[in-house]
């Protein structure tokens, strides 16, 4: 996830301090992804270096509460007890944010998914019951989904950001469970038809080239 763009989005509302940015980031993402303040300051430094944000001076943001730099953050080059710097987005930063929102993330090539790998390996290792392996993962995933659903049940839906994050997580886990169900069924049919690991057909050269092109798009 892009912390960089999330900070730009928060700054597009007006100048803000580092600590304020961390608090708002966590609140706006349903408090699910914790962010340490060091990460906020390093990201801000890079954004400033790239001309996407600039310092807005020690005032102006109207940031209430503790605007002083906490002692544990002096490693970041700021002076403990000194007034914090506020940051504001530059026109280049606004353009960068707009561009990022519109560009789809790269989902075009299959990630080297560890669970897919485990199932692929399980069908070749002698003495391994692939269906048992699949069930173990299915149980674990459904258990995780139960935990997310409990969180959703306890929440009345007033925290919109949190509800969106929970939905995303449930749909993601659900899609993995569905893949396991499909793999389970496909393997049973293949076994009934006499499939054995040693008899796996080789793809033809042109087909192989096409497959590798899709898989390699990201690299």
């Amino acid at each position: 996830m892009s912390v960089r763009h999330a900070l730009l989005a928060l700054l597009s509302e007006g100048p803000k301090y580092g600590l304020q940015l961390r608090e708002e980031f966590e609140a706006r993402t349903g408090e699910v992804w914790p962010l340490n303040v060091g990460q906020v300051y390093t990201t801000l430094q890079r954004l400033e270096r790239d001309g996407l944000v600039e310092t807005a001076g020690a005032a102006g943001a109207g940031g209430a509460g503790d605007d002083r730099v906490p002692a544990e953050h002096d490693a970041l080059g700021t002076v403990p007890g000194a007034p914090q710097k506020a940051f504001r987005i530059t026109p280049a930063g606004s353009a960068e944010l707009d561009q990022w929102l519109r560009v789809p993330p790269d989902l075009s090539s299959p990630p080297r998914d560890e669970l897919v790998m485990k199932v692929l390996v399980a069908i070749t290792v002698p003495g391994t019951d692939v269906h048992e392996i699949i069930q173990a993962h299915r149980t674990y995933l459904v258990q995780l989904m139960q935990e997310w659903t409990r969180l959703k049940e306890d929440e009345d839906g007033s925290d919109l950001a949190f509800s969106l994050v929970v939905d995303a997580e449930l749909f993601r886990l659900d899609s993995v469970v569905r893949w396991l169900d499909a793999a389970d069924g496909r393997l049973r049919r293949a076994k009934a038809e006499g499939w054995a690991p040693a008899r796996t057909a080789q793809a033809t050269m042109p087909a192989l080239a096409r497959r590798r092109r899709i898989g390699a798009r990201q690299q």
């Binding site: 408090e31 149980t139 459904v142 139960q146 409990r150 049940e153 659900d174 389970d184 069924g185």
Partner: protein, 238 residues
């Protein structure tokens, strides 16, 4: 004491070469307040399990106990009474009677059980109001949306304080929002003390349950652990 207890249930259909073993040695117990989801592919025995738990069908071997009573030892009259008073059924296609209003559909089981029409009607109305369907009481099933119809069916299943709710793909005919609403509702009843068994092939819907049991070829192959506290997830991800 469990509301529902299945002891080594097996079910065989057909004989000889045509014999199909639908359930093999199934044991499970569902205490008051617990919602259990049964997941499995088609043909895994989910629906047989539910019809046997609901005393609508007899197992080939094994025992079904409802509130501690062995169903096999009950007279037909007593079994019929358990079906009317103790167990509520929810089906995928709602099974509402088209010629009756929502309120009449809900109060019918109470009237069949000997309650006066007036008292049954009031109890039916209250059950509908509890589900936010008070305004729809006089409507006929074909005047209701799918989600409303299923909620009426749930009202009919829980009316009269029944202790066991059995649902076969209750969200199967609904979109994801309405499906979720139905599961949320069933879980709410469970938190008030009802026991429920819900059959589904959908992991998102099953995840509303307190325990998920996985069925494959008529056997329980695995089940999830009792739910952990809501804090564990966020601790893990941090």
């Amino acid at each position: 004491m469990s509301v529902l207890e299945l002891r080594s249930i097996s079910k065989v259909f057909g004989r000889g070469a045509a014999e199909v073993q639908a359930l093999r040695d199934i044991s499970m117990s569902v205490p008051a307040g617990m919602m259990v989801a049964v997941m499995g592919p088609s043909g895994s025995g989910k629906s047989s399990l539910l019809t046997i738990a609901g005393t609508l069908e007899e197992p080939t071997s094994g025992a079904v106990l409802i509130n501690g009573q062995d169903v096999e030892r009950m007279s037909n009259g007593a079994k019929a009474q358990v079906r009317r008073r103790t167990i509520g059924y929810v089906f995928q296609d709602f099974n509402l009677l088209p010629g009756l209003t929502a309120a009449e559909n809900v109060s019918l089981p109470l009237e069949l059980d000997g309650m006066s029409a007036r008292r049954a009607h009031l109890a039916g109305l209250k059950a509908l109001e509890d589900l936010g369907l008070g305004d729809q009481a006089r409507r006929f099933p074909d005047q209701l949306s799918g989600g409303e119809r299923q909620r009426v069916a749930i009202a009919r299943a829980v009316v009269g304080d029944r202790s066991l709710l059995l649902a076969d793909e209750p969200s199967g005919a609904l979109d994801s929002t309405n499906g979720e609403a139905v599961m949320r509702l069933i879980h709410t009843y469970c938190k008030r003390g009802t026991a429920a068994v819900v059959v589904t092939h959908d992991a998102q819907l099953a995840s509303w349950a307190d325990r998920v049991v996985f069925l494959r070829d008529g056997r329980i192959v695995d089940q999830t652990m009792p739910p952990a506290g809501p804090e564990t997830l966020l601790e893990q991800s941090s």
